[in-house]
Symmetry: C2
Subunit: 347 residues, 2 copies
Amino acid sequence: MPAAKTPSRTATAGKANTINDIARLAGVSKKTVSRVINRSPLVRQDTREKVEALMRDLGYVPDPIARGLAFRRSFLIGMVYDNPTAQFIVNMQYGALDSLRDSGFELVVHPCDSRSPGYIDGVRRFVQQQKLHGVMLVPRVSEDQALADMLDEIGCRYVRIAAVALDAPERMVVTHDHDGAAEVADYLLSLGHRDIAVLTGPAHYRSAIERTRGFMGVLERRGIALPAGRVVEAGYTFESGVAAAEKLLAATPRPTAIFCENDEMAAGVYRVALRSGIQIPQQLSVVGYDDSPLASRLWPPLTSVRRDTRDTGRVAAAMLLQPEDAPRAMASVRPHLVTRDSCQPPP
Amino acid sequence: MPAAKTPSRTATAGKANTINDIARLAGVSKKTVSRVINRSPLVRQDTREKVEALMRDLGYVPDPIARGLAFRRSFLIGMVYDNPTAQFIVNMQYGALDSLRDSGFELVVHPCDSRSPGYIDGVRRFVQQQKLHGVMLVPRVSEDQALADMLDEIGCRYVRIAAVALDAPERMVVTHDHDGAAEVADYLLSLGHRDIAVLTGPAHYRSAIERTRGFMGVLERRGIALPAGRVVEAGYTFESGVAAAEKLLAATPRPTAIFCENDEMAAGVYRVALRSGIQIPQQLSVVGYDDSPLASRLWPPLTSVRRDTRDTGRVAAAMLLQPEDAPRAMASVRPHLVTRDSCQPPP
DNA sequence: CTGAAAGCGCTTACAG
DNA sequence: CTGAAAGCGCTTACAG
């Protein structure tokens, strides 16, 4: 005979209720309770209501660890990233958590170094050992096809967040960096700038490729050709922005505006301009990308492209919570220009 | 008869090995394998070695979900915080992960709003539903005694990261904000400043209390009294720094130096000084606290107190991985001043 | 030092 | 629409 359980157990008792308690008190089998938990249609309406009421009254929540063991899959969503921008990561986490709240799922974070040889194996172990329900792939690891292939191979669901569609629609959140940069081009042209420099991110980053394409596309359509040497590749870092700006601002003639493909590099341009006595925006207009906290801390406050990273994280996590057979559509998040005081018509 | 298992299963087979496979291949019971996994001393040395070799060869890793169910405790560490500084949070996560790597534990993040009434219940559900192994409490939630009491009550291990010892030694990582601020005072005095303003954080934050105490303590010991109105409470935000600086810099005489209890507020002081034509450091020395990325993006680069947040996270997580009966000692992390270009002797 | 039985709290596969 | 049995991969409690 199995150990008898105290029948008087209530929500306030020391030990939590289990599916057995609910089943016993509802006068049904635990399998039926399980069906209610998993929203199976194979339960009579009144049975379902009785069980649900009981669960609510006793504050019963099914144990995710036990369900995980039976399902061979945990109630954890992983977030995999290799990104030095703290604000971006934190906002992405907040967004993901917005979607996971009250879902019974939790967020497990996995920063990694995508340049280290073993990083894909590291993600594999992370996913397999914890039997993750799915993972969010944040740029720039989201751009790594080998990583996506590995996840596919081990049967792990994932969503990739990237500047452009790299995968099946149901696995993508597209951030349309192309359009954000195009908006910058429109804005600078509308102010009258015709000699504009572009400080790009690393040429192998999709975000940098798309931002450059979006920006240059507008110029081309308007028939504007930039002088030689105006498009300079940098590394998305402050230091790389300083180095690139030093060359760019020493040129004769000097560009009247610089589009920096992120705010960190824009801060580098500010630094060099200040040192060289070049006034922003009177002598030089500057635009960034990201609308990081830095943008409004700089002087003058930096005009920049905002991406709603929190919303991006929210959408990506929500996609992973969808049932496998749900309608499959690509998600989109749109950037937009936030105008501050770092631009004016050319001198 | 239970379903027979393919005896030829290897590390490369589709399905992962289980404790049963190891037991069968080693010719021992699964209980013995379990003892090896859990480092029980009750295993003969040669038995242990045989089992360990087998586990290694087959790449066997015990399933944390199954262990979690049997232990009634997961292999997850929670990080609970309510802190707007992205870099601080991210560094804390990196540090925690440094300690968790290859431990079989993973990090689950739980940002929350400590001003919302239900937040303690939210943490309780988080901890109980996931049966967390332990949680890291980051400032400012680490200062909330009601939260610590709740965790104690439900039997959840925790480590509090705070400016000062608030709890039993084995539950504390102390960041000694007192000493960091004292170092700032020594430095400014050594430059010759005697009329210094202090822009404090919210008066009910332990970090702000300790930074103010540490700073003022040095002045008192040196017999230096500040003019009235030199200690101003602000809110650790950029905007509050701007507001406080506006008053402070309009005073006559003006202080020759300002110690800001974080970098965000120092950025606010920079903003006002720039607007008012007050030169830093020629006419005003400024010191921050945190040594955030912002500190080196400002011009002139900001002298600030660095706290090794990553190390703090590392230490806190490591404490949670210790066996319950391990020697119990308080952990300490020490701040130190990073000198840049925002200070010089008074005019 | 080692093992057979029972159990952790769920779900799957099967039967009715 | 509902349920009894077996199982997920481990550990605890007990016995030897």
